[in-house]
Amino acid sequence: MSPLKSREAILFGAILCLLIVVATRFPAFVAPGNLVAVVTDTSPLMILAMGQMAVILTRCIDLSVAANLALTGMVCAMINVAAPDLPVAVILVVALSMGAILGAINGILVWKLNIPPIVVTLGTMTIFRGIIFLLTEGKWINAHEMSPHFTGFPRADILGMPVLGWIAVLVFGVMLVLMARTTLGRSIYAVGGNPHAAVYTGIDVGKTQFAAFVISGTLAGLTGYLWVARYSVAYVDIAGGFELDVVAACVIGGVSIAGGAGTVVGTLLGALFLGVVKNALPVVDISPFWQLAISGAAIIIAVAFNAQSGRSKGRVILKSAEHAQ
């Protein structure tokens, strides 16, 4: 456990260093108000990364989260246009359940048909995006078509932080309990750590992976509504390519792509790291076009770092062809 702990400390230190470096030139960046804004801006990433973490822990990957987000967000927006007076609570239920269903589709294909998760989610990624186009014929839903309470909910201020930020905190808390204190959470670690051993301890590997996909899908659905409401616009390409940021946040946060290792706190810090970088770039006057390359480089560095720290220290007696693990 100690390398994992130190890893979070390193990441936390890296975020602090980043903040200090930016603060030396632009003190306003670390003002409490701005930090809250950074956290709020990173909230969608944090929420999605929590779900992605569960999936990656079970040795799967979910590349369809951004498309799920966009599809659920669009459906929420369309419901709002059709029935402007519908309370936010109903919209939230719709978003959560629709996200869960889309996640379950991925999960079923992985569980029952044993299709490699990367193939399933690459496929559903394009299918979900395509369905948005079929629903809307490529039209946008703009701010003036949405009702004020629909768009106002994630921005409503509670104790100085918008609801969006609080939801991320809530999801963080729930995941913390779920992963550490429930049978499902421990099964998720067990399945990723050693699937064969998990089977012998009576854990249904496929079912656990299915559950992880449902968690990821549910959170993506939730984020779908929040995203559309926050930016007050819904169209086919919202959050395009965001799945890569989500995977990046997990990998940077120390979640091993080989499954079984990674923590909720680490994932949160990984997302925060990317969020701080993203928000700091314009402040230090670097073109936003740098962001894609930076997150790509961050993924590679993080995964190299993960492999280095995860490598066993003992003498290698029998060489294995895959020396990653």
């Binding site: 048909l113 395509g130 480089a297």
Partner: protein, 333 residues
């Protein structure tokens, strides 16, 4: 048609195994599907059966297929490269920069291929030297390579390639036979021979079936994988040349999402996504099938994003159906 002969080729590493039987029939099944689509298309649209239209249709798959051949070998060896479309973007951007500096056509080609090769080397080094999982590495380099393109180009574009450069993407060798199609056919033959007739091809299969076993049998597993990453990079560079030449411009968003179509083509061609089996004739037929589907839908005015639904369904369906079939049979018997 020589494809028919190739489709019934036997892969000697798994003689008489049920899997091999399935593979053999897979290619003939695919060929049947391809012919059926061809017939349906020619009935559905009066513009389909026209030499020039059919020649245009080949552009739907030639560039993707170039990468798909190398990707097939890479996937058979148990790795994957999701950064191919980003390599196209970077190679195309590099060619654009070279063009701005006044490079001629031969230099542009050299720049494109070299960039592809370097990107492949970068992926390969991370996977083989550092022992990192290729999925994550190439997801990372996918952002990195395209990110560099965005840094160079921002929201701009490179235009004004020399007119001789357009030969690759717009030229015709003979009547309706385009340069790209000729490259496609040549590569199909080269890759077919390399995979099915050479030592190296056997090593690729061995690596994918049991990497540790292959290592102890004297296969330099890392070197095989490195070579395949280099090859995939090189082919992406070649595809970048063809695509840039055909479009006549470079934007950082060029070829976005193409990695999905390439992987779909490979999987549709019967290559096992988990590695160890697959054949080049299968990929060739899959290329034709995908090209015909997209072209047919295009003639029927189906927008691109709806076509991507078909591609996604095809990708999942192709893998799901045999497994569903197996489950049903198990329950039935």
């Amino acid at each position: 048609m020589s494809l028919t002969e190739n489709a019934s080729r036997h892969i000697p590493d798994r003689l008489r195994s049920p899997l091999q039987d399935k593979l053999v029939s897979w290619e003939s099944l695919l060929l049947t599907v391809g012919i059926a689509i061809f017939i349906v298309n020619s009935l559905a649209s009066p513009y389909f059966l026209n030499a020039w239209n059919l020649s245009d249709a080949t552009f739907n798959f030639t560039e993707k297929a170039m990468i798909a051949f190398a990707m097939a070998l890479l996937i058979i060896s148990g790795e994957i490269d999701l950064s191919v479309a980003a390599i196209i973007a970077l190679a195309s951007t590099a060619m654009g920069v070279a063009m701005e500096l006044g490079a001629g056509t031969p230099m542009l080609v050299l720049v494109g291929l070299t960039t592809g090769l370097l990107c492949g080397a970068f992926n390969g080094a991370l996977v083989t030297k550092l022992g990192l999982p290729s999925i994550v590495v190439t997801i990372g380099t996918m952002s990195l390579f395209r990110g560099i393109s965005y840094i160079v180009l921002g929201d701009g574009a490179f235009r004004g390639y020399p007119s001789s450069f357009s030969w690759f993407g717009q030229g015709y060798v003979f009547w309706v036979i385009s340069v790209e199609f000729v490259i496609f056919v040549l590569l199909a033959m080269i890759f077919g021979v390399v995979l099915h007739k050479t030592n190296f091809g056997r090593m690729v299969y061995a690596t994918g079936n049991n990497a540790t076993g292959a290592l102890f049998s004297g296969v330099r597993v890392d070197r095989v994988k490195m070579t395949l990453f280099l090859l995939t990079g090189l082919m992406s560079g070649l595809a970048a040349i063809c695509l840039t030449s055909r479009l006549g411009s470079t934007r950082p968003s060029i070829a976005s999402g193409m990695e999905l179509e390439v992987v779909t083509m490979v999987v549709l061609g019967g290559v096992n996504i988990l590695g160890g089996s697959g054949s080049i004739p299968g990929v060739v037929i899959a290329a034709f099938v995908m090209g015909l589907v997209t072209f047919g839908l295009g003639l029927l005015n189906v927008p691109g994003i709806v076509m991507s639904i078909f591609i996604g369904l095809l990708l999942i369906g192709v893998i799901a159906l045999p497994r569903l079939w197996a489950i049903c049979r198990k329950k039935g018997g």
